[in-house]
């Protein structure tokens, strides 16, 4: 009985087609620039914007997808921590068609929530650009995004404002006091 099952399995196996392909393209060739994006002094509550250029070097139009993902810890640059939340990064388009031998831009926005706990941080996240394909081999190019937030935005800003207001109040008070003193004084 077991022998018959094995024989049936083998016959069935011979009917299987593995890794078929119906497309004509036999190679994959595209580039992404820049390869590394470094954003410094981004204050929590603010946003920064930049463009990625995808250059399709093939003779056929191609669709490209863009997505963020966390690199393994050992692949991150020294001193960089994991980017806290992928949703802080948005794309003008996560899928884009690029004509043959042409380039297209995707605008990327990095927005950090206005919370003191995100100040003074150094993060890294990767943005993977992949050519859509059903072929066996696919290529993905990863752009390093290095984000550093402003370490002392909140305290500096508040201290300056407070000093300005206090000086203003003192001077205004002095002026008022001097005016009223002169007013009540008989000429």
């Amino acid at each position: 009985m077991i022998g018959r099952i094995k024989l049936a399995g083998l016959v069935a196996a011979l009917l299987v087609i593995f890794l078929p392909s119906f497309t004509l393209a036999q190679d994959v060739n595209f580039s992404v620039s820049p390869a590394v994006v470094k954003i410094d002094n981004l204050p929590p509550g603010e946003a920064a914007e930049f463009e990625l250029t995808i250059h399709n070097k093939e003779e056929l139009a191609r669709n490209f997808t863009i997505a963020t993902f966390q690199p393994p810890e050992k692949e991150r640059r020294k001193g960089r921590a994991e980017f806290p939340d992928d949703s802080w990064i948005s794309f003008s388009s996560q899928e884009i068609e690029v004509a043959a031998n042409s380039a297209a831009n995707v605008t990327i926005t990095v927005a950090i929530p206005r919370e003191q706990k995100w100040a003074g941080e150094d993060w890294e996240i990767w943005m993977g650009v992949a050519a859509e394909s059903s072929d066996l081999l696919a290529v993905r190019l990863d752009v390093r995004l290095l984000v550093s937030t402003n370490p002392a935005m909140e305290s500096t800003s508040n201290a300056g404002l407070a000093v300005g207001i206090v000086v203003g109040i003192i001077l205004f008070g002095c002026g008022g006091y001097y005016y009223f003193r002169r007013k009540v004084k008989p000429e």
Binding site: L19, S21, N29
Partner: protein
């Protein structure tokens, strides 16, 4: 009256002197640096391996075995490269049936193995392709790949010991690169 106006104006000016620079810092000087090396690119001269019918528990290698496909670094920056596999899915109904990719290149019932070997990589020989991204060119043990570098490699498939026949299966291997 003149003194009042003078003191109010002085107060406003002084308040502005202290607070404006602080307010200006709110909009900040955000620096975006597109680091010197600007263009990342790798190319493959082959992306398909049409195998046709396969038998269970059998090894298949590309022809030629380790010089089947050429990866070329096309950009202007050194790159670290990675390779990643996935489960093979039934083309007609991907959610209904699959072959699981093993994590060590071995096979089993509905479990298949995938391997790659780079020409010139004598220390590693055939390396399993798994669902966890692994190094393609071993930059930890050597250097990353530089613009103009080429690496030839081949693939090996080990089919499951048992699988449901008559079904067209499809999988994908992703080779990725990041600036070193």
């Amino acid at each position: 009256m003149k003194a009042v106006i003078t003191s109010i104006v002085a107060a406003i000016i002084l308040a502005l002197i202290f607070s404006l620079p602080a307010l200006a810092q709110d909009s900040g000087t955000i620096t975006i640096t597109m680091t010197g090396v600007n263009d990342i690119s790798i190319s493959l001269d082959k992306t398909q391996w049409p195998l046709g019918n396969v038998a269970s528990n059998t090894e298949y290698t590309t022809s030629p075995p380790i010089e089947w496909c050429t990866l070329t670094v096309e950009g202007n920056c050194n790159v670290n490269t990675f390779i990643l596999g996935e489960d093979a899915k039934w083309v007609d109904n991907p959610g209904a049936y699959e072959w699981t990719l093993s994590n060590d290149g071995t096979n089993g019932e509905n479990v298949y193995g995938l391997w790659f070997r780079i020409s010139g990589d004598t220390s590693r020989g055939y390396v399993p392709i798994t669902k966890t991204e692994g190094e393609f060119w071993p930059y930890d043990g050597g250097s990353s790949l530089a613009p103009g570098d080429t690496k030839q490699f081949g693939l090996k498939l080990l089919t499951p010991t048992y699988f449901v026949g008559g079904r067209q299966m499809q999988t994908q291997i992703t080779i990725s690169a990041v600036a070193a």
